[in-house]
């Protein structure tokens, strides 16, 4: 069938075009530094080498930057899980004066991302004496309007009778959350966690302006530093090695858990 062949050809062409940047940056990272790509020789150099990775690992304390990224991402997620659960429950199941107005205020956060308000937020962090600390990185992300919306919607779908039954047995609010709502909302929490982790792992502008030393800087900022110092261009093989180090975790996770990622991100339009 002609139509089928046509669409298959299109798939192959676009997949090749889209994959090429990743493919060639991986190749480049394993090429000897002294052998830049040239006409007739764009794939491999004379040998496959790890020297670029070795060099890059000595240029910057990547272990430390990895740790900083993990602290940032995990520190944000853990606090978010608490804040979005509590607020999500209140907005889903409780009646109180001013509820809709307060929800609207929370939604403002989706409309105006903290990183856009660079100047005043920078000033706030300085006033709190937190400049160049892990706290400064995490603090603006601890509340998540996207998370509140997602959890509110999920909790609303859980039959109220389950809560009532638990209440009759004398369960407190926190017991109801722990034994009724949270166990029934695991997929929603997983989606939220994936989106939260990916977006903070990749965050750049805020960490860039709020950190100054290697002790705090996450991977993205370290990669930028590597880029700025290798601008002469001769060290693209090292730059690619550094880039691969930074992007590898998420790309590998995505390759392994495609479906989960796709479903999670499809619900993230209001991040």
């Amino acid at each position: 069938m002609n139509g089928r062949r046509f669409t298959t050809a299109l798939t192959v062409i676009f997949a090749a075009l889209w994959l090429a940047p990743l493919f060639f940056s991986i190749l480049m990272s394993f090429r000897p530094e002294a052998e830049p790509i040239s006409i007739g020789n764009i794939f491999f150099g004379s040998q496959i080498t790890l020297e670029n990775y070795q060099t890059v690992l000595t240029i910057a304390p990547w272990g430390l930057h990895y740790l900083n990224s993990v602290i940032f991402v995990v520190g944000v997620l853990i606090v978010q899980l608490f804040t979005v659960t509590l607020a999500g429950y209140a907005f889903a199941r409780m009646q109180f004066p001013g509820r809709d107005f307060l929800l609207l205020i929370v939604l403002l956060q989706i409309m105006i991302p903290a990183a856009v308000l660079l100047v005043p937020n920078f000033a706030t962090i300085r006033d709190l004496d937190l400049f160049n600390t892990h706290w400064a990185l995490m603090l603006p992300y601890w509340g998540s309007a996207f998370g509140v919306l997602l959890i509110r919607q999920t909790f609303r779908g859980i039959p109220y009778e389950l809560e009532e039954a638990a209440r009759i047995d004398g369960a407190t609010l926190f017991q109801v959350l722990r034994h009724v709502y949270i166990p029934l909302s695991i997929p929603a929490y997983l989606s939220f966690a994936l989106v939260s982790i990916s977006s903070h792992w990749n965050e750049f502008l805020w960490p860039f302006i709020i950190t100054r030393s290697d002790e705090v800087r996450p991977l993205t900022v370290a990669l930028n530093q590597l880029y700025q110092t290798s601008e002469t261009g001769a060290q693209y093989s090292q730059l690619m090695a550094g880039t691969i180090l930074v992007i590898a975790p998420l790309v590998v996770l995505f390759a392994l858990f495609q479906r989960r990622f796709i479903e999670s991100f499809a619900s993230s339009g209001l991040k």
Partner: protein, 302 residues
């Protein structure tokens, strides 16, 4: 001790307090302060009072003869071009990707990975990959062009090409992300409609044009709005793709704001530009929210 009733009444407020406090401190108050400060001329030194000047900061920004205004308007224009060209190319491409991936094909996982993975790269990582591809002397693109007998280009150094080069990176990164929404939308179109069209003898092109595209209209609208709001906030790639150079030709609004925050005399303009950026974002996100809520209402009815 608080009475039990008062405690019950306070509970919802206590539950939302952490979220609300964070939104107040990092969104609402700073936004208000920015709006307020945008009406003042910053003092030369911290101890002096700043002077109320009304809308003068805004007037200066829109004055081409002003030292910052002369840069602001072209940069605003770049930003609008960046957002809309990305959109016009990436959204149809996303629909195409979704259609390609929505078939029964062998090795689906591989094709899906290939088209979608760029969305998971940090922009700064994506940009450094492309900086290598674009490199004039040893970049992959020029090497390929030259081996085919063509003329290599200075993709990031030529003022007429640089914005296009930055847009290509954005399209490459975002198309797969947008296709996720189309993939979800395609699941909701009933097979019966296509079968009915088959009976009427419709070909593939007609089915795409008269069934798929109209039924995905709402998804398209939704994607367009998020593409616009994301577009106006996307600046990280500039850190690796020439810092807005040459001659501001690839500079974008948020990056320009960032470039000016270190100079006190420009703070009034920084605030005014932030207000302009936030207004644009608000406009489109309110639109997004209205579409989203309306879709929610229809889902409930269905």
């Amino acid at each position: 001790m608080l009475s039990h009733r008062l405690w019950t009444r306070l509970t919802p407020y206590l539950l939302i307090a952490p979220t609300l406090l964070l939104v107040l401190v990092f969104t609402l108050l700073p936004a208000t302060r920015t709006l307020y400060d945008s009406l003042y001329q910053p003092a030369r030194r911290a101890i002096e009072p700043s002077v109320f000047i009304g809308l003068q900061n805004y007037a200066d920004l829109f004055d081409l003869t002003h030292y910052l205004g002369g840069r602001f308007l072209p940069i605003l224009q770049n930003t609008v071009i960046f957002v809309f060209v990305s959109l016009v190319v990436a959204v149809p491409l996303a629909l195409g990707f979704a259609l390609l991936l929505n078939r029964q094909i062998r090795a689906l996982g591989f094709w899906r990975f290939s088209l979608i993975y760029p969305m998971l790269l940090p922009l700064i990582g994506a940009a450094s990959i492309w900086a290598f591809l674009y490199s004039d002397s040893i970049g992959l693109i020029n090497t390929v062009i030259r081996s085919l007998g063509g003329q290599g280009q200075n993709w990031l150094g030529n003022p007429n090409l640089v914005l296009g080069s930055v847009i290509v990176v954005n399209i490459w990164k975002q198309a797969g992300y947008y296709s996720l929404f189309y993939l979800a939308g395609l699941q909701n179109i009933s097979r019966d409609i296509y079968e009915a069209a088959d009976l009427d003898g419709a070909n593939a092109g007609q089915k795409l044009l008269w069934i798929t595209v109209p039924l995905l209209r709402r998804t398209t609208l939704f994607i367009v709005v998020i593409a616009i709001t994301f577009g106006f906030q996307t600046v990280e790639q500039l850190a690796a793709l020439g810092l807005g150079n040459p001659a501001d030709r690839s500079n974008l609004l948020l990056w320009f704001i960032f470039q000016n925050i270190s100079e006190r005399r420009n703070w009034g303009y920084v605030n005014a530009m932030t207000v302009i950026l936030v207004s644009i974002l608000l406009l489109f996100t309110v639109a997004n929210f209205l579409i989203f809520e309306r879709r929610g209402v229809e889902d409930e009815r269905a």
